[in-house]
Amino acid sequence: MRSNVDEYKLIAPANLTAVLQALASDPTLTPIAGGTELMVALSAGRLPQKNLLSINHLRELRFITTTPTDITIGSGTTFTDIRYSAVLASDFPLLVQAASWTGSIANQNRGTLGGNLVNGSPAADSPPALLAYDATVTLISATAGAGNIAHRTLPYRDFHLGYKKTVLAPNELLYSITLPRKFAGYHSYIRKVGTRNAQAISKVALAGLALVEENIVTDIRLGAASLRETPVRCTAAEQAVLSQSITPATIAAARAALSSEARPIDDIRSTARYRAAIAANLLEEFLHQLTQ
């Protein structure tokens, strides 16, 4: 059942300041960037938000800036931009890998990192890598009629509140995502399990980073998709491995810990039982890699 496009309003204020002013004056506005999520809903007659604000054209949101200590990605950066960034490929390869299996080339050209996060699906492709990399996010807003722009920065792991629900206030925009350049020497792993190599929403995905020194895991981070109602850090599994060496006992303990903290569901893509089993297998695959 199609939507009636006449019922929808879409405006495109010329610059970021104007966009923030629009949001401040009318918090019922819903931003639309690349449209790879909202336009699907529109075509299916399932887009309740009728008052839309285009941010796709804002050059102020599309950037990748590098300092010696971190890299900041604008929320309007596309997956293609991420894939072609040499500095992201060298410092944050898991994010580049995740971008490469997001949708298809045509979707990667339009979809934005910000949209991937704000849409807030637990199956989204970029969150596991961002969680493993300790990303922080910066949100911006304006007050109606006033000139200044307010910023607030928080850890990305605090961004998602529940299924497709984030901390973003109605007058706020996600501005940027910052990644700390502190993972040289880490082992890295990411795997997405889905029905095809492209155009597949994950049944489960796991991103892992670990530092192994003299056979002991001195740091480990695990980011997962489709195991809870939001993307998650698997902290129980991390604790089971931290300060241990990788032995069959550690692997068994890690698998058990992951099963305890994962709460997968049955849905159109997969079952809870399959997801739980596969997630544990991905974790074991990562841990085995740490011994090589």
Binding site: G34, G35, M39, I105, R110, N197, A198
Partner: protein, 166 residues
């Protein structure tokens, strides 16, 4: 509520009056009568609606026109399948699709050819894996893909830098 959008399609500057949320696919087909782009899924999964769009930064990108509200095409330069051949002369990609049997019913073909064009622009000598990835967003129900891949491999040898003609 209608809005007026100015854009360039297949080398021609044009304006359309449409609701801002009307899908670019529908504007191309209904307002501009360019029916080469097709709707196969309406959700950006099948690629039948693929076109090349430069939003003003000099980068022509493969995009699914079913997912673009026409307002976001303001000022864009667009190439549809109708803009690929040079009047009576088929583009090498089109010629190769013909010679290798890369088209049967033809529904996927406009999108496939534009996806191929985009691929060869980025990877003039693609490996099979790069071809598969470049075309992964374009579904074909007829050919089984093998002849399409052969057509793409052959097209890659015809010229290393391809440009669309209007």
């Amino acid at each position: 509520m209608m809005t007026t959008i100015a854009l360039t399609v297949n080398g021609q500057q044009t304006t359309v009056d449409a609701p801002p949320m009307k899908r670019l696919l529908d504007v191309l087909r209904e307002d501009l009568h360019l029916t080469g782009a097709k709707e196969g899924c309406g959700e950006g999964e099948c690629g039948s609606c693929s076109i090349l769009m430069d939003r003003g930064d000099g980068n022509a990108e493969l995009v699914n026109s079913c997912l673009i509200p026409v307002l976001q095409a303001e000022g864009a330069t667009i190439t549809t399948i109708e803009g690929v051949a040079n009047q009576q002369h088929l583009h090498p990609i089109q010629q190769c699709f013909l010679e290798h049997g890369g088209a049967q019913c033809g529904i996927c073909t406009p999108g496939m050819i534009l996806a191929t064009h985009h691929l060869l622009d980025k990877h003039p000598h693609p490996t099979l894996e790069q071809i598969q990835e470049g075309l992964a967003g374009n579904l074909c129900r007829c050919t089984g893909y093998m002849r399409i891949f052969e057509a793409v491999k052959d097209a890659a040898t015809k010229t290393s830098k391809l440009t669309a003609h209007s």
